[in-house]
Symmetry: C2
Subunit: 127 residues, 2 copies
DNA sequence: GTACTGTATTAGGAGATGTAATACACCCAT
DNA sequence: ATGGGTGTATTACATCTCCTAATACAGTAC
């Protein structure tokens, strides 16, 4: 499914969250799709089940997935993330990064181009 | 000068980096201004000099400040950050956060508004 | 019941973070 | 050259996070 880098400095469970979010954003994983079970994924990635659980639990509390005990973990509808605590965090992060980008001299128009480039990708295909 | 939160989960040296970058971005600290000395700042914030040093060293390697041994630390010209490794990192971070924002349903136009709101602030006044 | 799912707890090791105490080297004013 | 400021580097130690490991428990489906 994907690879993780143990040496990366960044915690494994965060790398896993990022990869999974990326798959959801690119709609490889879609609304209500089931994620790999904790034990299966732990086997495939050769890491401890607790680490997977930590990533899944965090993704759930962030609103990206929902958990049905005994059944599995599933992709949450993106719209359910609107008006959540997570939205506020993303807005703050966005402001911070935008300010930093503009400070070092990245042009507004380059950012506009980025948005147009990403925008369609988040909605439909990836071409 | 500012406050740090030891309980914040986020490392003190990172909080310090964020605060200092914020001051530079908002031009409270301007090009070639001298930063507080490591020892002075350690006294004021009641934290260890080594922690300050770590923040300063990281800011220097990121290109936000430059160090003159025996003299002090100074704010680097923002333009010197263009075409650096740091620019690449900021671009990647920006792409990631933008994709996440669009995914959860934040509208493009809200982001445009954010940019216009921040843009002038990074150039001139703060009103 | 069996075999999947997620959840929770306890224990331990490795590494990051912050503190502390020192020592060294550079710059500058006197 | 001396003194007092600056940054730099090293070593040691306590604490916390991250990750692993081994278990046990609980919900769901067949």
């Amino acid at each position: 499914m994907f690879e993780l880098d143990v040496q990366n400095g960044k915690p494994i469970y965060e790398q896993l969250m990022d990869k999974l979010k990326e798959l959801m954003i690119n709609e490889v994983l879609q609304e209500h799709n089931q994620l790999p079970s904790i034990r299966i994924l732990a086997q495939e990635l050769t890491i401890n089940p607790n680490t997977i659980q930590k990533a899944y639990k965090q993704l759930e509390s962030d609103g990206f997935i929902y958990t049905l005990p005994g059944k599995g973990n599933f992709v949450a509808p993106p719209k359910s993330l609107k008006n959540s605590l997570k939205e506020e965090k993303i807005r703050n992060e966005l402001s911070r990064v935008l300010a930093e980008a503009l400070y070092i001299g990245i042009d507004k128009h380059e950012i506009y181009r980025l948005i147009k480039e990403i925008g369609p990708l988040a909605k439909g295909g990836d071409s």
